[in-house]
């Protein structure tokens, strides 16, 4: 490790402090994010349920809008968390350990937000359970041929997997925190740690199960976003029915997810005071990953355009032409700037290891990625086969508010998370540290009381 040596005990101190000691700023942030969630998400959503989907800006040719874009965005964001964590675990990447917990949490919460976006998206959310196979009085089953049905399956599986993955990895930490907290927190962690004692058998089983799950999660994560892409690619909408879509979405998802992790890491580092846990090394490595994903993403984008151009069909021409030079053309070039051009800065190590530029870049990438999802919906559907049915789509106020609100909801969930879960893995970080010296042990014990 290149940074200042940190002590074994400091790890526990820092983390438990982050759980127990709560500043005023935290409460203000939490209050604001809850307020945003209700004012921008649940309020408009309630109005939309009363009024109908017409509260959003969707119309006849463009029946999908920002809700679906947000859905893909959140699903995408969810990607790198668990996936990255699992891949890095399998490849024994030591630097993963300080960041994987929060990355996984990001996964979990963005999947949750994505699932809510589905509810917001459908016309009759009160019947959305019909998409789930369960025996019922109507003797009706969902349509197993539908990519949306695959979605339901894939997302629930991924969400379940992610929950188990993050929970299992946290059990030893819950135990550690349990041993150092009192009051209701103690009781909560007693329940959460499921009676973890830290015996050899337990550690062995944990490692074994954890690795097993990691192996399972990797293909699952790839499949989830492939399936999400099929919502589009299985249609015959010009500019959507492209075979490149599955890898396109997976790459895009990992790309935006990685950028999301950078953002979250920066925030944790800064506001939870994990400066010595989350270091330049992490940013450097994530930067490298971002650069690779950015190049891949750019390549796939070029392929997409090329396929359209090479088809020499009016349908593809018009749809792609509309995307590049139509009403939303400026957004397309903004996306190219943020996601294809700007990340080239990551070639420089100095850039990768500077925190604030990395934050700005990661946010820019995610803005670009949101734009990508928006453009997929908003520029393809208005330009389909029959020109007389062409239309235009403008998001309504309700849609924009709900989009903002979904960020509020994500933030709220994350803020609650950092106070319940140790947001950096205690035991795994410790494994990366040098062997502690005896004198330090006493210090740690005294600090615990």
């Amino acid at each position: 490790m290149s940074q200042r040596e940190i002590a074994y005990s400091e790890v526990n101190d820092d983390i438990v402090r982050s759980l127990v000691v709560t500043g005023r700023n935290y409460y203000i942030t939490l209050a604001v994010s809850i307020l945003v969630t209700f004012a921008c998400f649940f309020g408009p959503w309630f109005y939309q349920i009363q009024y109908g989907i017409g509260a959003a800006g969707m119309n006849h040719p463009t029946v999908w809008g920002t809700y679906l874009a947000s859905f893909i965005f959140w699903i995408g964001l969810s990607h790198s968390g668990t996936l990255l964590s699992a891949v890095l675990h399998l490849t024994n990447s030591e630097w993963r350990k300080a960041m994987y917990r929060s990355a996984e949490a990001m996964t979990l919460f963005s999947v949750m937000v994505a699932a809510t976006m589905v509810m917001v998206h459908v016309g009759r959310p009160w019947f959305v359970h019909w998409a789930v196979p369960y025996p019922n009085q109507m003797e009706m089953w969902p349509n197993f041929r539908s990519p949306l049905m695959f979605d339901v399956m894939a997302i629930t599986t991924y969400m379940t997997g992610s929950i188990i993955f993050i929970y299992m990895g946290t059990i030893p930490d819950f135990a550690a925190v349990r041993d150092r907290t009192t009051g209701w927190r103690h009781h909560m962690y007693v329940l959460l740690s499921l009676g973890w004692r830290g015996t050899d058998t337990e550690w062995h089983r944990l490692h074994w199960a954890y690795t097993f799950l990691a192996v399972l999660i990797v293909p699952l994560a790839v499949s989830v976003h492939s399936i999400v892409s099929w919502d589009f690619a299985l249609s015959i909408v010009p500019a959507l029915h492209q075979t490149i879509f599955a890898p396109y979405f997976v790459v895009g998802a990992i790309y935006s997810g990685t950028a999301g992790i950078v953002t979250v890491m920066f925030v944790l580092r800064k506001y939870m005071k994990f400066e010595h846990l989350i270091t330049k090394l992490h940013f450097d490595n994530l930067g490298k990953l971002l650069l690779v994903m950015s190049l891949l993403w750019t390549y796939i984008n070029a392929v997409e355009l090329f396929t359209g151009w090479y088809s020499e069909s009016s349908e593809e021409y018009e749809a792609l032409g509309f995307r590049l030079f139509g009403f939303y053309g400026p957004l397309y070039w903004e996306m190219i700037l943020f996601c294809a051009v700007a990340p080239l800065l990551l070639i420089s190590k100095r850039f990768r290891t500077s925190f604030v530029p990395m934050l700005i870049l990661s946010i820019a990438i995610n803005i670009g990625m949101y734009t990508e999802r928006f453009l997929i919906v908003a520029t393809s559907l208005p330009r389909q086969y029959l020109p007389d049915a062409w239309g235009m789509y403008y998001p309504s106020l309700v849609e924009i508010l709900i989009m903002i609100g979904s960020f509020g909801m994500f933030t709220t969930l994350f803020l609650i998370f950092v106070k319940i879960f140790p947001s950096v893995s205690l035991y795994e970080v410790k494994e990366t540290l040098p062997e502690p010296q005896p004198k330090l042990r006493t210090q740690s014990e005294s600090g615990a009381s």
Partner: protein, 187 residues
């Protein structure tokens, strides 16, 4: 440091009790509504027997006096809706029969004022369900199959849960041609 979860569970017990009581209350409230309020029931639940404007007894008419269902519900064999008899039909008999009974007098009041009797619908299907009585009567389905033993009821009540499964099961059982096609009932 205790590792056992038992003490922690004990601490959480009061909260659990509160939740449990609330849940019990939920069931109680639901039941209370079902038991105490009258007039309208969930659209499918059996046992619904509202107070009708006239205490008409199917038992006396269809049971004791053996009047055929189609004598009053003439539409059932001709139309999608079974229909209720016109006030004229009631008056037709009751100008002679049982004229002294108070309920009959009320019927005759409606007749004299030429007002319809506002019967309350007991077997009510949602508006998106198109159930043709005609086809079922023609196929020889007894009225009692869906409406229950009407000839034994003093107060008419809903017998079968009029939900989709009921229709489907019967259609499957009798191997109705294309009977499980959605468009058979929904259009």
């Amino acid at each position: 440091m205790s590792i056992s979860i038992v003490p922690s569970l004990k601490v959480l017990k009061p909260a659990a009790i509160v939740v449990g009581v609330a849940f019990l209350g939920l069931i109680l409230g639901y039941w209370a509504n079902a038991a105490l309020t009258t007039g309208n029931a969930p659209s499918f639940a059996p046992g619904y027997a509202p107070q009708q404007p006239i205490d008409f007894s199917h038992k006396i008419h269809a049971g004791d006096n053996q009047i055929d269902c189609l004598y009053c519900h003439t539409q059932a064999s001709k139309s999608t809706s079974a229909g209720v008899p016109s006030v004229a039909k009631c008056a037709g008999c009751h100008q002679q029969v049982a004229t002294d009974r108070p309920q009959i007098r009320r019927v005759m009041e409606y007749w004299e004022n030429q007002e319809p009797i506002p019967w309350i619908k007991v077997h009510d299907l949602p508006d998106f369900v198109y159930f043709p009585h005609k086809r079922h009567v023609a196929a020889g389905v007894a009225c009692q199959t869906c409406h229950g033993p009407v000839e034994t009821m003093d107060v008419i009540s809903r017998q079968a849960p009029s939900q989709m499964g009921l229709c489907l099961n019967c259609h499957k059982e009798h191997q109705v041609e294309f009977g499980t096609d959605c468009l058979t009932c929904h259009q």
